[in-house]
Symmetry: D3
Subunit: 335 residues, 6 copies
C-alpha cells in the first residue's frame, strides 16, 4: 500500500527522542501514523509520498550518508560523530528545539584541582601514562583532546559510562549530559569549558538525493517550510486589543512608538462598534511569547483594553532563510 | 446527584475505542467527566441533562435498540451485526473519523491460488465439505457468503480467531482488520475484495425516543451540531495574510481567481496600517488543512506576505445536513 | 545555575494535585521545567527569577507561613488547617479550578437515623461517652464540632480513615471527599450538611515577603495577571460570523439586542467582500463557552452565517480584581 | 520445529486464568515455554510431544469438543455452558484448585424482600411481564430458571453486566462471582441459594481422541499422574523429629496412638547417634499442612524434639483414582 | 462471612512494607488472602479465627494500643514513637528480618566539621538560635537531642524532609535511612553516631487482650511458634552425605570433631547399600546456611561424598524463648 | 562500607539478561543485594568480599579483559566478539543455562533459492558487488564469512537490524536470534546452517587475577562450587519410596536392576515400621528430573509405594570438573 512513497525520512526508533520527534512533527502539522507500535515503518498522511522509517539515532546518520534514506531527524551529537568527510550529509535545520544535550568531559568530583580543560591538561602531565577516557563518541572526543594536545587513550563503551571512574577502568568520561543529574548521582562533575559538542535534534538530507531527484528537493522545501513556519508560530502569539483613537493612522503611530508591539510588518487595525459609541479600533499584532507581559503593559499604556491573546499554528515568511542556505550548499559542490 | 439526567448516551467501556471516543468528544467541546476510573457512569458538564454510561461495543447496540439508552457511540461493525431489522436503530452520524477497521475475509498465506472471493468460491468447490469460517460476526458473514453462494459453516469464537486456521478448527476467518499486522503475524492474508463491512465509530439513536420525547430530539440536534461543527473545524485552518492592493475589491478579485483560497463564502478584508505607508489589507480566509501548502503558494503569488495560520475550534454551517437527514428518517416511518 | 532565583514557589510534590498544578501552570503559559523526575527543584523559564520547589501539601503551608518559601499552590483544606492565626498566610487566589474536594463528616451507612448534623447531635446525646471521630484535620474538625456543641474526642490517623468505623477504633470520620466513591465502597455516607471545609487549589503568599521585598510583590502581580488572564480565556471563545447589513452600526444595533453575543465591550465589525457582491460584514465577539449554543442561535437569528469559533489563550482585563484585593489586604495590617 | 508434537493442550489466552494455569503447571513440573509473549503457541519441555496453544476460555471447550484440540484447561463455568450433550467432552480432573468462582443470580440491593430463589419467584409473580435476566451464560441460566419454574427472558450481553439493573436493560443478572466485591461496588447482592454453577479450573479431553489414539491416552495418564501427585504434595509436609525410645517398634507404637502423625502408611524410623549417647531415633512422617500445629503438639507430647519440616514436590499414590475413573468413562460409551 | 473472626491482626497498608510483610507471612505458612486489591480486610486461611486489616504503619500502633486491634506488624520506628508509656503495647518479636532502616540525624554534606553528635553540639553552640530539626518523629528526636543536651526546635513535616536544608526551613533532619542513597542524592550525610532508633519490622500485641482473652493468648503462641520456626528454618539447610565407616558410632565420632556439622542435637545416621558393597552410611545434619561452604569442606575432609542439600520449611524447638519472654512480661504487670 | 571488597564481579546492567542473572545467582544461594534500583553497585551477602557492579554486556568483557573487574557473567556472543587474542579472558563456565540465543545469518524470505550458506555463496556470485551484511558483531561475522570465502562488506549498526533489508541499506543481516519471532515478523529467514556463534550466559574471569591473587583464585573455586552444585541440583529430585523386602540388600539388588533409579552412588535404605507389621524399608534415591516418570514406573514395578519426591538445593560432587579445567588452563600459559 506504500507504492507511491518514493522518498524516505528516518526517525529515532525509541525513547524520549522518538516521542519528542513525533510530537514535534505533529505540532508542525506532520502527524506520523504508525499502524502498529511494533512496526518500524509508518506514513505521514500530510505528505503521502514520504515513507517514514524508524532507526537508532546513529544508524539514521549512516543511512542518510549512504543514501538508502533521503532525510533524517536525529541528534547533532551522532551527526557530527558519524557524518564522515565526504560531504554527503547536508544539515538542513540544526535547531529543531528538542533533544538538547552536550557531549561533555566529566571528571570525578574528588579531583578538586581539575575544573577546566587547562587544569585537566596539567593533571594529565603529572601522570606517567596517558589519561584513560571512556566514551561512546571516539571520533569527536579524540579530535577535541588532540586539539588540546592532551595525551590520552580512548576506552570504547556501550553504556553506563558514569560508573567507569568508580570501577576504575577509566579516569574520566566523555558523555552526553543534559540536566547533569546523572553525573551528580555518580559523583562526577563536568569541566567548565569541557563541552565537546553541543547538541539538539536536527534535520539532515542526503546531498546527492537533493541534487539528482527533483521530487526530493521539493520535499526538502516543504519540510523546511512547515518546520520553519511552525517554529516561528510556537514563539509568537496573536494579540488583539481594542483602542480608542482618532484614526487608524493615529493609533498606528502610537503603536510604532512602542518596542514590543511593532509586530510582523505592522498592526492590523479595524474599526469597532461599541455600545456607548465613540471611535474605537481593534488592533491585531503578533508578539513574541516571551515578551507578552511587556507587550500587554505597552498596549495598556497607549490605551488598549479588552486584550485577547490567541494561539497561532504557523507563521509563513517570504522565503525561509534555511531553504536559501540549502540551495547554496547544494550548488557549492557537485557531489 | 444525577436526578436531572433524563437522556442517556452509552460509550464503549474499554480499550482504544473508549479513549478515542472520550478524546473525540472532548475535542468537540463535550468533555466527559468520569468521577472514578472504576465507575461505569459519568457526566458531560456541557450537556448536564445527558447521563453517560459505559458498555461493551455490542451491548451499546442492544441497549439503544431496546430503548434503555437513547444514544450510543460504537463501531459500524457491531451496529450492522446487531441492529436487527425493526428499524429501531437510527444512525445519526456514520463517520466520526476514528475506530477505522473492516470486517474482512482472510485466508492462510499458503493458499496461493485464493486471492479474491471468486477464487475462494472455486477453492470451496474442490472440497467435499463446506468451508469452515471462524467469526465473531455470524450475521454479517453469513449474509455475505450466502450472497456469494459459497457453501460454508460458521464457527463461533470468542477471540484470537487468527490462530484458528493454524490450530485447524477453521479453514479461514472473518475478522476485524485495521492495520493488517495481526493477520501478517499469523501468516494470514485478506482477500482483495473480501471486505464484508467497512467500519468506523458512529452515533446512533433509538428511533422511538426521538419520535416521542422532544428533549431527546433536541439533544440529537445539539449533539449533531457540536459534532459537525467540530469535524468541519478539524479539517480547516484560518489563514490571515497581508496584501498590498488598490482596494478591497481589487484584492478580492485577485483572490477569486485562485483555487484554494476561495474560502467559506468569501474573504474578510480589512485595511492595515504599515510602518512604511502604502495601501495594505489584511485578508482572512478559511482553507482546508490538506490544501494549506497550495493556499500559501497562491497567496504568495498574488502578493500575500506575513501569513499567519490559526486553529479553529468549530465551524457552524447554516443547518447540518445530517440533522435534516435525521428528521426525514424520523418522519419516513412511524415506529 | 539558579543563582538569580531569589523568589520561591512551592508546588505539591506528588499525586494528582502535582500533575494538575503542573498542567494548570503550563496552560497559563508558565510551564515548569523539572530537569529530573526525582528532583525536588525546578525552573519556570517564563519567570526566570522564580525558583520552584516541590513539597507535600501541608508542608507548603508551613513553609510559606514560616517565610522560607514566598508563594505556594496547595489545597484550601490544608491551608485552613495549618495557616495559624498570625496572618502570615495571604490567600492571593482561592479558586484555581482544580483539586476540588471537601472536608466532610461521614457516618456508617447503617446509621439510618443520622442524616445531618442535627441528627448526629441527637445520636451523640444517646451515648454515654463522647463520639470518637477519626481525622487527619483535627483543627478544622474540632472547631466545627465545638461550634455545633457536639461532645467528641478526636482520633488522629495517618490514612485509610474509611476503615476506622468498620475496625471499630472510631465511630465516624472527618475526611476529604471528592467523588464519594471511596465512602460508598466502605459503606459510609456523608452528612447532608456535613461539609466542614470546601476545598480546591489556591495560591498563597507570605505576607511579610510581599510587604518588604518589591520583587516579590511584582512577582505576585505577574502570577495573578497570568492566572487571571488564563482562567478568563479558558471559559470563553472567539466567535467570528459573516453578516449582511446596511452598515456596521446597523449590525451592531442588531447584536446589542441579543443576550449572549454582547461580548467584552462590543463586537469588532469589518467589511467583507463576497463573491456575489452585497454588503457583508465580519463580526467578532467573545462569548462564554457554556453559552456557545445560545450565541450561535442568536447570531443565526440576526442573519449570521459562516460562523467560525477560535480558541483564546489569554484575556487581559484592565486590572485584575484579585490584585487589588491583595494590595488592600497588605495595607490593612502591618505584619 | 514442532513436527513431533502430535497431541494438543489448549490453555486460557489471557488474564488471571492464564497466569494461574501457567503457575499451576510449572509447580506441577510442567513448565510451559512461550517463546514470545505475542505468540499463541508454546512448548512444554517435560512433555515434548505435547503442543500447547492459547485460546479464550470458551473457545477451548469448543475446540476440545470438536476434536481439533485433545486436552484443555479452562473453567467449569464455560465447560458446562458449552459442552453440549454428545458426550465428546470428558472432564478428567474437575478441581485443579484455582480459578474459583460461581455463576450466580444477583439482584439489586434495594430488593429487600428478595433474598433467595423462592422469594425471587414470589417477586416475579407480582410482575406483569417475565423477569429480564442479563447473562453471558444463557444455557445454564435458562436451565436453572426453568427448573425453578420462573418466567423470564434472557438478555445476552458481552460484559459489564453489573450495570444492567442500574441502566435498566435488565432486572437482575446471572454472572460469575468470585469475591463479591464487584457486586457490592454496583449495589447488587447474590441470592443465598442462587449459585447456578460453582466453578474452578478443570482438565478436559476429547473422548474420541482418547479412544482412538493410544498416545493421547498415555498423555492423559501422565498429565493426571503429575497433577495428582502435585496436588497431594501441595497439601502435605514432610516432618522429621528426633525421639528417644527403647526400640523403633516402641516409638512406632507411640506414634500410632496419635491422630495427626499417622502418616502415609507408617513412619520411617532410623537410629540417630547423639553426642551424649542414649537410644535416639529419627522419625519421618508426612502430615497434612493444615494439621501441622496439631502434629507438632502430638510429636512433642510423645517426646519428639529437634523437629524439622521440609517441603515435598510430589506424592505418588499407587494409581490415581481419577485415572481409573477416566478409563471407566471411556469404556462406558463408544463415542 | 467473617463472623468467626474474633481476633485481629493489622498489617501495613501500602508500599514495600506491605509486600514484605505479606511475603514474610506466606513464607512462614501464613498466606494472607486479600479478596480484592482495593479492600482493607483479608483472611488468613491457616488461622481462620484471625481477621486481617490493613492500616498505615503508625495507625497500627495506635489501634493496638487502643485495643481495637489485638496484633500488629509494623516498624520499630513508629512503635517506639507512638507506643506511649502506659505499657499497653507488648513487643512479641522485635526482629522479623525485613523493613530494616534507622531513624538517623543527617546534616548537609557541606558541614564538613560536623561528623558526629559531639561536633553537632559544638556547631550548635556557635549559633545564636536553637538548631532547627525537621522530622516526622518528634517524640524520639526530642528525647535523643534532650539527652545530648542540644538546644533545638523541631519542625514537623509530612514528607520529602531531605529538601528541608536546601530550601532552608530546617538546618538538619532526623529521618529514616535505609540505603543512604536518598541522603546522598540530596547532598546530606548521616552523623557517625547519629542513629536515634534502629528499626525493622516487629510483631506487637495489646497487653490487655492477652491477659483477658485466652483465645488471644493462644493466637500469640501460634503466631510466635510459626514465626520462630520459619525464621530458624530460613537460616539453615539440611545436608545429607554418604560416608564410609566402620560403624555409625565411628562416623558420629568423626563428625563431633568438626565445628560446623555438629547439627541440632546430633546427626542422623543410616546404613546405605552401595553397588560395590562396603560399609556406607547416610549422614543427615542441619547446618547454618552461611556456614555451608565450611560444612561441605568438613564433610569432605572426613570422607563425605555425594552430598545433597535440601531446603527446610520449619524448625521447631522445644519451646520458643520469645513465648516464654511474653508470658513473663504478661505476669510482671497487671495492665 | 565496601572497604573489604577486594574482588569484583560484573553483571549485565539491564533487560532480561540482568533479571535472569540475578535469579540464577539467587537460586544458587548467591542473592545480590542492590541497595537501590538506580545504583550500579551491589553486595552479595553470602560472599562479602565480592563487590558486584552492573555494566552493559559487551562492557563486561572489556572490563574483565582489561583487569579492572575480576569476574563477569555475560553472553558467549559478546565474549567471543570482544575477548581478543591475548588470552586474558578465561571462560570458567560456558553453560549457565540462561540467555540462550545464536548469532545467525538471516536473509529476506523472498530469497527463495537461498536456504543455506552454500546457496548464499552461489547467490553472492551472481552479484557484481560484494554482499552487504548489517551486523552488531563485525568480528565474528567477518571471520565466518571469510572462512566460507564469501565476498562481503559489513555495515555496522546500532540496532533494529531486521529492517535493514527492507530499507535497503543491507542485503542480509547477522544478528542474535532466540525464538525467531522477530525475524519472522520482519519477513526474514535464518539460513539452515547459518549459526555463527551459539550463545548462552557464561562466567568469565581475568587470567592474571587468578594467577597472581590467591583470594581471586579461591573466589573462582567458590563461585564454581556453588554454581555447579546448584545446576546439578536443578536437574535432579530426591525420591523416597517405601518397599517391602527381605533385607536391605535384597531391595538394593532389585533397585540395581533398574535403569533410572540407580542414583548417585546407591540408594539409602532404612527400615520402616508400619502399622500392620511386615518388613518394610524406606528407599531414598536421587533421580534426574526429566526421568521422573520412568523412575516412578520402575519403583512401582519393584514394589515401591507411598512415593514422596522432594526438591534439592545443591548436589556437591567430589571436585567440580570445571574447577580442574580452570586450574589446567591457568598453568598452561603464564599470562
Amino acid at each position: 500500500m506504500q507504492t507511491t512513497q518514493t522518498i524516505r525520512l528516518s526517525l529515532p526508533s525509541k525513547g524520549r527522542l522518538e516521542s519528542n520527534a513525533l510530537e514535534f512533527l505533529a505540532a508542525a502539522g506532520l502527524r506520523v501514523l504508525k499502524p502498529n507500535p511494533r512496526q518500524y515503518q509508518a506514513n505521514l498522511p500530510a505528505l503521502p509520498e514520504l515513507g517514514v522509517i524508524f532507526q537508532r539515532p546513529a544508524d539514521i546518520v549512516v543511512s542518510v550518508r549512504q543514501g538508502s534514506v533521503d532525510f533524517g531527524i536525529t541528534g547533532l551529537d551522532v551527526i557530527e560523530e558519524k557524518r564522515g568527510d565526504n560531504g554527503d550529509i547536508l544539515v538542513l535545520h540544526d535547531a529543531l528545539g528538542f533533544g538538547h544535550c552536550a557531549l561533555t568531559l566529566a571528571v570525578p568530583e574528588s579531583w578538586q584541582s581539575v575544573t577546566d580543560v587547562a587544569s585537566l591538561k596539567d593533571y594529565a602531565a603529572t601522570l606517567d601514562r596517558p589519561l584513560r577516557v571512556a566514551t561512546k563518541f571516539p571520533h569527536l572526543t579524540k579530535r577535541f583532546l588532540d586539539g588540546q594536545d592532551i595525551s590520552h587513550v580512548l576506552i570504547a563503551a556501550e553504556g553506563t559510562l558514569e560508573t567507569a571512574p568508580t570501577i576504575g577502568y577509566a579516569d574520566l568520561i566523555s558523555d552526553l549530559v543534559s540536566s547533569g543529574q546523572t553525573l551528580q548521582d555518580n559523583r562526577l562533575r563536568s569541566l567548565r569549558d569541557g563541552v565537546i559538542q553541543p547538541s539538539q535534534a536536527a534535520l539532515i538530507a542526503n546531498r546527492k538525493a537533493l541534487q539528482t531527484r527533483p521530487e526530493a528537493l521539493e520535499m526538502a522545501r516543504r519540510l523546511l517550510e512547515y518546520i520553519e513556519a511552525h517554529l516561528r508560530a510556537k514563539d509568537n502569539l496573536l494579540v488583539i486589543a481594542n483602542m480608542r483613537g482618532e484614526s487608524p493612522e493615529a493609533i498606528a503611530h502610537e503603536i510604532f512608538t512602542q518596542t514590543d508591539v511593532g509586530g510582523l510588518q505592522g498592526p492590523t487595525i479595524s474599526p469597532v462598534i461599541v455600545r456607548d459609541g465613540g471611535a474605537w479600533y481593534s488592533v491585531s499584532v503578533v508578539v513574541r511569547r516571551d515578551r507578552l507581559p511587556q507587550a500587554i503593559t505597552e498596549l495598556r499604556q497607549i490605551g488598549g483594553s479588552g486584550i485577547i491573546v490567541s494561539p497561532v499554528t504557523y507563521i509563513f515568511e517570504e522565503e525561509p532563510p534555511r531553504y536559501k542556505a540549502m540551495l547554496e550548499a547544494l550548488s557549492s559542490k557537485t557531489g
